[in-house]
Amino acid sequence: MTTPALDLVDVTAGYGDNPIVRDFSARLEAGTITTLIGGNGAGKSTLLRAIYGTNRFFSGKIVFKDEAIERLPPWQRLQRGIGFVPQGRCNFPAMSVAENVKMGCYTLPAARHAAAIDRVIALFPMLRTKWRTEAGNLSGGEQQILEMAMVLLLEPSLLLLDEPSLGLSPKMQADVFTTVQAIARTGVTVLVVEQNVRGALLISDRALVMEQGQKFMEGPAADVRADPRIRQAYLGGNIQQTAA
């Protein structure tokens, strides 16, 4: 058993007075890709936000690198190595790629900027060719890659991706999945929420299935992909009805 990069213990989180995710426990092993799947409103994005600290945390424990982080503000979680790319467009659209990348370096010491920028450009050469282009004028896939690059500048050891392929063409979705694999190969642990379940499961090591705020299933991605209940649910059924 490898060391867990993230340990979620009975996490209950939500918004205002409403817990959305309830008693959710899971372990993410270092350097793996885990896909979090579930129907609309299952609480997938809420769980990612709870890990990053941008919503209300009710109870439970979030242990990252042997430290309980559930009460830390987001910027301290960022400092400890958690990167989050939220759903939707997450860049500065009227700023150039160069300016966006420089904004991503903001919390790094100035002496480390050049090395960090070189590292992400080596990972995503597209950034160099579009260096002076405004982020808002990039294609959807390019914007998604820019957003991941901005987070990777800080060398996170855990990357949270919320719907990275949302609204992209099948070709661009494939590019994004390839990129996520490339990121994981550098040793980063990835937890990804994805609407393209088939594509996400194909690149993942493990999968977590959520239904109505709770964990419904977990296991190796290949097993989850082969499970008839998952096949049924994602062809239009409901996991709990299928299970019953």
Binding site: L78, F92, P93, A94, M103, M150
Partner: protein
């Protein structure tokens, strides 16, 4: 090349008193310099940071009154008055901005508008301090090392040098890491937070800097007029600064500078039309907004993008 053009243009404006002896033209030039600085200061808080501040009118008035009172009531120099104008406005901006910026952008607009109205009331009704509607006439010409800036051409130097310093500072700030962060806050504040940056100190600093620069501009302008009264807080000034920012292109330094100079000169150019002058001015603004909804800078940007797209076809 661009830097050379800028230096040449700045020097050309500096040589204006040698090119004309007309007090009318030099007076318009003083207004242009001061209005452009006030517009550029508004651009810092509104154009860059995305916070529409009507408090600029209040800072303008406080700057004018602080400088005038320092000289006339407290016996200080014009320069000390300007220093007070800047410091007082920066302090007030911090006091007003700290609670307001926590609430949200809409609350900020309302509070800054209320602040401007409050300053107008104080100027009119605190008669013991401001002399109310009578105002403070006969503001003396500033002097430095025995040299008195008595004539309009002499006073133009003060306005020109202040414009160079203030615009140079705002340009440096806008192109720095701080300026980039302000623009980022305007474009996507939640993302700025997600990247571990606290927006509040940046917003507060932008507000205080724009207040100080506007206040000093107000102080200089009051001494150009040689009188200050509650009309100095007429909404006309706020509207002028805002129009300059919008027509120039909110968030564009050079767009606002060009608009500041052009729109200061435009009403004077239209004087030939006598009674129709302001109607024509309004129509010109309407047409500009219809043709360039993103302002002058936005229009240039759109053209550049169109050229790029055409080249890709």
């Amino acid at each position: 090349m661009k830097a050379v053009a800028i230096v040449v243009a700045a020097l050309a404006f500096g040589l204006l008193p040698y090119l004309t002896s007309s007090n009318y033209i030099l007076g318009v030039a003083v207004s242009a310099a001061i209005y452009t600085v006030a517009a550029a200061a508004l651009n810092l808080i509104y154009g860059y940071t995305g916070l529409l501040s009507f408090a600029q009118l209040g800072f303008w008035g406080i700057g004018g009154y602080a400088t005038a009172l320092t000289v006339v009531t407290f016996g200080g120099t014009f320069w000390l008055g300007l220093l007070w104008a800047g410091l007082l406005n920066a302090a007030l901006a911090l006091i007003v901005g700290y609670p307001t910026l926590r609430v949200g952008r809409h609350a900020f607009v309302i509070v800054t508008l209320t602040f401007a109205l409050l300053v107008t009331l104080v100027a009119r009704d605190w008669v013991d301090l401001t002399r109310g509607p009578l105002g403070i006439p006969g503001l003396p010409a500033p002097s430095l090392f025995g040299f008195e800036f008595k004539t309009t051409s002499h006073f133009y130097w003060i306005a020109w040098i202040y414009a160079l310093l203030a615009l140079g500072f705002l340009y440096a700030l806008g192109t720095s890491r701080i300026g980039r962060t302000l623009v980022a806050i305007k474009q996507n504040e939640p993302l700025v937070r997600a990247q571990g940056i606290a927006p509040m100190p940046y917003k507060l600093a932008a507000f205080a800097i724009s207040a100080a620069i506007t206040g000093i501009a107000g102080g200089i302008f009051a001494f150009h007029l040689k009188v200050i009264d509650p009309l100095f807080l007429d909404f006309y000034y706020m509207q002028t600064f805002l129009i300059m920012v919008i027509i120039g292109g909110a968030g564009s330094f050079w767009g606002v500078v060009i608009a500041g100079i052009a729109l200061s000169a435009l009403p004077e150019v239209l004087r030939f039309s006598s009674d129709f002058r302001m109607i024509i001015y309004g129509v010109v603004l309407l047409v500009i907004m219809l043709v360039m909804p993103g302002g002058f800078a936005g229009w240039i940007r759109q053209r550049r993008l169109a050229r790029m797209r055409a080249a890709l076809r």
